[in-house]
């Protein structure tokens, strides 16, 4: 009996050891079915109040708040898993070939393709891209096996790498909001808020969604999550201002 209690105690301790922070569950207040097949990431364009969304079959879409497709640009032999927009360009990341396609945001013409070599699994390549304004560096994340954050300079040359496998089983999206780095894990169905200098986790929220892959904040600070398998986009109130 004594050993059984000891065993249960050890198991209970193990189960608690991975949860140093409280995970809060949040619920969407609205969801939209989208015509975009397998949406794998999204980002918010502050200039137009639109979203850019990429899909697994290599198509870049621009949509409004209701998921209505406004423009699209297709590439062959591509598996887009990450997208980022700034004042001049839209950046779409092809996971399979480790390429960053750079589009003119006005014309959606692809002006450049940059290869960032990565020797990990074909389907465990770059899954998220964003820009860290605090460290003035691009951030690329591998999905899993292992989860790695790469810092890159303006020419997309890797300057630093940080292991993040302890944070989540996978990373599927990244964005910046109000000076903090936000990450999304598909397998853990969790959104993380990280310190942009140390990459330490500050807070986390659990999502009641199947296969969440895209993460963005709109102009009002509302959180948009796109789900690949469900082909839906979910709106949440800002988790810090519920």
């Amino acid at each position: 009996m004594k050993y059984k209690l000891l065993f249960l105690g050890v198991c209970f301790s193990i189960s608690l050891s991975g949860q140093t922070q409280k995970t809060v569950r949040i619920k969407p207040f609205k969801s939209i079915a989208t015509a975009i097949p397998e949406p794998s990431d999204s980002c918010f364009d502050k200039k137009t109040n639109h979203f850019f969304v990429v899909s697994d079959n290599g198509v870049l879409f621009e949509t409004d708040h209701d998921g209505i497709i406004l423009r699209q640009k297709a590439e062959t032999n591509c598996d887009y898993e990450a997208v980022y927009v700034n004042d001049d360009f839209v950046y779409a990341v092809d996971e399979t070939h480790r390429n960053i396609h750079i589009y003119d945001r006005n014309t959606l013409e692809c002006s450049k393709i940059i290869n960032v070599p990565y020797s990990g699994g074909r389907n465990s390549g770059y899954e998220a891209l964003t820009f860290n304004p605090v460290k003035q560096s691009w951030l690329l994340f591998t999905e899993k096996n292992p989860v790695t954050l790469f810092e890159l300079d303006a020419q997309f040359v890797i300057t630093n790498q940080i292991a993040l496998s302890a944070l989540a089983r996978d990373i599927s999206a990244a964005t910046f909001n109000e000076g903090f780095l936000w990450l999304l894990s598909d397998e853990d169905r969790t959104v993380f808020k990280l310190d942009p200098k140390t990459y330490q986790c500050i807070a986390r929220w659990e999502l009641p969604l199947i296969n969440p892959e895209g993460l963005a904040f709109d102009a009002e600070g509302k959180l948009l999550i796109s789900c690949d398998d469900m082909q839906r986009m979910y709106y949440f109130n800002n988790p810090e201002k519920p």
Partner: protein
């Protein structure tokens, strides 16, 4: 010599690729992966039985897998298990669950409206058979679906199409019909093929062929599948099937017609998951003196034999403990002309050291009831070991 060449090729490959597991030239992407798994088996013999040769360590898998894409139109997969090849070369009978060459297929996606797969690999019949071993807490599949009753792999062509946001899939294929033995080259003297069709559907989203809900799905997910296969291999007088083609129970190919129908269902929710699968086989041997008729008259047999069974499995993934617990019950009736059936229970416990990539697995086997057609020397078995995947 064969082993030397294989080893040299593997060494050359690893030396030239360095630490890379994915290579690309911009159009062609090649991924290299594999697995090694070893277990210890302990078999509890019945009273009076003395052969303890199954109490041993076994190298179950030593797999090397090459998967690639060429442009957006072609995908290929070449997967070999050196452990099985070594066992087969030492004169052992081929284990249909581990035949050595596991996959050699090319898929053409250029038609857009459907995909075509050609080569040797798993046939699209039975969800449990298609479920990848590396995602299972078990060391062995249920007897019904491990290749002893019907084949799991064959050479042939499959047309496939998914629709309704990938929630529904349809597969239609034609194969040699000799299963794992089809690699020997020739067909049997009947020269006939086997035809297989499958349809499955899931809700509310697409449902991969996985048994464990490791994502702790927050919305209940369901999937159902229907499949069937047919062969008519009536041998010319005086001709025979290749050795071992009929399998352990004499059911994999028969001298006559064979219809197989199956249904499977699966669900997952909040770490819990369950699977149910049932198969029924109707066998019509062309000769009244076929051994499957067990010396009964045509009036007694009505010209056919029924065989089949079902599997029910329940699983739970304890995320905080990185542990999978599972239990499985199986009933099997090899021949309805012989009274009785067999019942088997199995349970499994798997601890993830590093997800599925490094996992310690324990399986317990219990023969609750055995069929007179298939007497066994044991009634309990324990198996513990580790699987390691590199990718």
């Amino acid at each position: 010599m064969k082993h030397f060449l294989l080893s040299s090729a593997a060494l050359f490959l690893f030396k030239t690729m360095g630490a890379q597991v994915t290579l690309s030239n911009g159009k062609h992407v090649l991924e290299i992966s594999g697995s090694i798994s070893t277990y210890y088996n302990d078999r509890q013999l019945k009273a009076g039985e003395e052969d303890q040769s199954k109490n041993r360590f076994k190298l179950r898998d030593a797999e090397l897998n090459l998967e690639g894409r060429v442009g957006s139109d072609y995908e290929y997969e070449l997967k070999a298990d050196f452990a099985d090849m070594a066992a087969n070369n030492s004169g052992q009978e081929i284990d249909p669950e581990n035949p050595g060459l596991m996959q050699a297929t090319v898929k053409y996606k250029g038609f857009r409206f459907l995909e075509v797969e050609m080569g040797y690999g798993k046939v699209y019949y039975s969800r449990s058979s298609m479920h990848p071993f590396s995602f299972s807490p078990y060391w062995q599949r249920a007897e019904l679906v491990r290749g002893s009753i019907f084949s799991r792999r064959d050479v042939g062509v499959t047309l496939m199409k998914n629709f309704w946001k990938q929630r529904a899939n349809i597969y239609l294929g034609a194969y040699t019909g000799l299963g794992e033995l089809s690699l020997a080259g020739d067909n049997d003297p009947s020269g006939q093929l086997e035809y297989i069709g499958r349809f499955d559907m899931a809700y509310p989203s697409r449902y991969r062929y996985r048994d464990i809900d490791d994502r702790i799905t927050p919305i209940p997910m369901f999937a159902i599948g229907l499949n069937a296969r047919y062969m008519n291999k009536q041998l010319p007088a005086g001709e025979f099937f290749p050795d071992n083609a009929a399998g352990e129970y004499g059911l994999k190919v028969i001298d006559g017609k064979r219809y197989v129908y199956g249904m499977d269902a699966s669900f997952q929710y909040m770490g819990f998951s369950g699977q149910f699968e049932i198969h029924q086989m109707k066998i019509e041997p062309q000769n009244d003196n076929d051994p499957l008729f067990v010396n009964l008259t045509p009036k007694q047999t009505k010209g056919y034999v029924l065989s089949g069974g079902y599997i029910a499995q329940a699983n739970y993934f304890i995320k905080n403990w990185k542990t999978i617990v599972s239990a499985r019950y199986e009933e099997l009736d090899l021949n309805d002309l012989v009274p009785g059936n067999s019942q088997r229970f199995s349970s499994a416990l798997a601890y993830q050291l590093s997800g599925y990539n490094a996992m310690i697995k324990f399986q317990y086997f219990n023969i609750l009831k055995e069929e007179s057609l298939d007497p066994l020397k044991w009634d309990e078995q324990f198996r513990i070991g580790m699987q390691f995947l590199f990718k």
